[in-house]
């Protein structure tokens, strides 16, 4: 029912060649693929879309693409849905369709894109109306002269709500940054400063979620490319070991690290950080990753 569009630059499979940089993220890319081919959102041919999605993100170097991790995560989601579609389905309930959540997100995202259009138009219109350019400075009433209506009860209520993030409380982990590959590169390099080899799995923090894992792996690959480390895996699915690659070092030493990992080893990823608090990057909102 759908006529596949072959655009200039499209290959013979009819898969659209898209310029990934144009897209805000994986949902934007998915919407584009669906819209371009006039696909019924409620009956997405997951197999075809997955193929097209993978093709679109293939060959793009992670450092050239914002949110590379999120694109990969979406690819994983699509593959999972595709696999679930192959399973026998019991009944025709909405909940049974593995695509349902994706469809909901796509529709929601489509609405957001509509709102973006509205905001953009409003912003452009507003930008054509200029406010007064020069406002001479006038004496401002000192803050102290403004009657303050706040009561001690309010201050005290705020005091009771103060929560100090406890780094050792696994239910209260603070993440202050978006998942950036640069951070993971720092993590790997600093780990390899104190030990000469480490299991990839040890670089992962199960509480930080998939995106961190994907990014850590991408960072490992990138460092491999830069010849900053070596990777070794004895057999498929075996533990992946990462080795420091330093010309002055014996590349395969029998370091004590895997047997006796000390708590103060790998955690000191920023040994030069002077102030402690500064390292927290307090200018960023911190929230707990659930």
């Amino acid at each position: 029912m759908t006529s596949t569009l072959v655009q200039p630059g499209g290959d013979r499979d009819g898969i659209l060649v898209v310029d990934l940089e144009r897209f805000q993220g994986p949902l934007d890319l998915l919407l584009h693929l669906i819209r371009q081919q006039d696909i019924d959102i409620f009956d997405i041919p997951i197999s075809r879309i997955t193929q097209q999605f993978l093709k679109a993100i293939q060959g793009v170097a992670p450092e050239n693409l914002d949110h590379a991790g999120e694109f990969l995560e979406m690819a994983a989601t699509l593959i999972r849905i595709k696999a679930q579609m192959l399973l026998p389905r019991y009944g025709e309930e909405v909940d049974d369709d593995p695509r349902a959540e994706l469809v909901r997100r796509l529709l929601e995202y489509e609405q957001i894109r509509e709102v973006v259009g509205i905001l953009s138009a409003a912003e452009a219109d507003r930008a054509r109306r200029f406010i007064r350019g020069y406002v001479p400075p006038r004496p401002r009433a000192s803050g102290r002269d403004q009657p303050l209506e706040s009561t001690w009860e309010e201050v005290f209520a705020a005091a009771l709500e103060v929560r100090l993030p406890d780094p050792r409380d696994p239910t209260h982990r603070v993440t202050t940054r978006e998942v950036a590959m640069e951070d993971k590169i720092t993590l790997i390099l600093s780990t390899l400063e104190s030990v000469t080899r480490v299991e990839f799995r040890r670089l992962l923090d199960p509480l930080l979620g998939t995106m961190h894992g994907v990014m850590t792996f991408l960072a490992t690959l990138e460092l491999g490319r830069r010849r900053a480390l070596r990777m070794r895996q004895a057999s498929p699915f075996a533990e992946l070991w990462i080795y420091r690659r330093d010309p002055s070092d014996d590349p395969w030493p029998d370091d004590a690290w895997p047997d006796a990992p000390g708590p103060d080893g790998p955690t000191n990823h920023q040994p030069d950080d002077p102030g402690g608090i500064q390292a927290q990057s307090p200018t960023e909102p911190q929230e707990t990753l659930q």
Binding site: Q24, A127, F130, R132
Partner: protein, 203 residues
């Protein structure tokens, strides 16, 4: 000094939109109603005398701005400060926060499909959003909402100037699929994710 003159002087001297009750602080003779009346008078006066400036209602207040048709002349001047436009990610994040406020970062990121800490920081810096509270539950994540400056930046009077979710077209959605009882016409096994989940809830 008539009220319209006082209101004009105060609006002219202000660098941000003013609410009628704020304007009324200029003189004991003024109150919210007389300021509203004076504002009305001023708007008519500016319109009838074909002035290049006008009184607009924005961000829950009033402000004097140039008429849009004079923009081409003003854009030629370095001495005319121009507000910088927001990036695509910033607009997208603002759109979500505007409709879903109060909302936490993780929810924004799930809707956008990409991490958003950096863009949220930018919006906080530009005072387009602010922290409006903390959610209950694990870690009590921060919740964000739009500011009065957000309204000003986009020239909205209030948040109600944004279209309601049900007024937003959803291009991908086929007209028939809006009605759940017409599911069959879509070809039997098509799933129909529950409609109420698809609309944004204005808040």
């Amino acid at each position: 000094m008539n009220p319209a003159q006082i209101v004009e002087a105060v609006l002219f001297a202000s660098d941000s939109p003013l609410r009628p009750e704020e304007i009324s602080r200029a003189d004991e003779s003024l109150n919210e109603d007389s300021v509203e009346a004076a504002l009305h008078q001023l708007r008519i006066l500016y319109d009838e005398s074909e002035r290049a400036i006008q009184v607009v209602e924005v961000a829950e207040g009033y402000q004097i701005v140039t008429r849009a048709e004079f923009a081409p002349y003003l854009e030629r001047f370095d001495s005319v400060p121009r507000p910088s436009r927001l990036s695509g990610p910033a607009l997208e994040t603002l759109a979500i926060i505007a409709y879903r406020q109060p909302i936490g970062r993780l929810e924004v990121e799930y809707i956008r499909g990409v991490s958003s800490a950096g863009v949220i920081r930018t919006l906080l810096d530009r005072e387009l959003i602010e922290i409006v509270g903390r959610a209950e539950g694990l870690g009590r994540p921060l919740l964000y909402g739009t500011t009065r400056h957000f309204l000003e930046h986009f020239g909205f009077r209030t948040l109600d100037d944004l279209p309601r979710p049900e007024e937003l077209p959803v291009i991908l959605r086929e007209p028939v699929s809006i009605l759940p009882d017409e599911d069959d016409e879509q070809g039997g096994s098509d799933p129909d994710p529950s409609q109420e989940e698809m609309t944004l809830e204005a808040g």
